[in-house]
Amino acid sequence: MQPVGLYWKILDDKKIAPIARGIGVLALLNIAVGLYMALFFAPTERTMGDAQRIFYFHVPSAWVGFLAFFIVFLASLMFLWRRERKWDALALSAAEVGVVFTTLVLLTGPLWAKKAWGAFWVWDARLTTTLILWLIYIGYLMLRSTAESERRARFAAVLALVGFLDVPIIFLAVQLWRTQHPSLIITDPGGLTPPMTQTLMVCLLSFTLLFVFLLIHRVRLEQARDQVNFLREAMG
């Protein structure tokens, strides 16, 4: 593995601080607008009533989780190919943020399910595969929380690659199996009215911005920790 130092120079640059802050402020403003739209602008859904409003933050959480795990997948591939710590740090950071957002999916989903189906959890294909995805990346983080070594990092990268195979399965679960979970909005746009679609788009944008903000800070943290270890080793 390469010696550790400032591998993501752009993130340590003083210029990134105002940019990251700007993204954070923009994300917060967008979330406030999204919240207003979800509560007051979007109409009440006919069959599920107000419980359906969970959807406006449930779907963006799932989208961000998938985006994060896609970054983990790409960064893990790059790490296995180039053996550079910067890719490993990016994969680890994206995995942690991805787990946070997937946790939100698994918390908000059952609350919605209780209102819609009368039960917090059913062993439905999409719910089960999402839970498996969450467990895979929890395992990845547990593996990374123990003592670091290149071998362990390589093993974790392989786990991340294999784990990502679950994402297309989750995506296709509603088509492959008979499931209670609503189908994809993209394939069934008739289910949403224009104000609902607009609200969802604002919420998707706000969570994506929030993800970028959190990822920048998580990678900076990883880099700061590596620098501490580097200095410690240099001191003997």
Binding site: L35, I54, F57, H58, S61, V100, T103, L104, L107, T108, L111, W112, L210, L214, H217, R218, R220, L221, A224, R225, Q227, V228, L231, R232, M235
Partner: protein
Amino acid sequence: LPYALIAVVLIGYAASLRRRMETAQRERAAIESKKN
């Protein structure tokens, strides 16, 4: 309730990131002061 839950998780995570960053910065400062 779901929105409050989302807020608690996200604020909690952001706070944990900040705390861990401060710890790393403190450790770095301590090592550098020892070095000097």
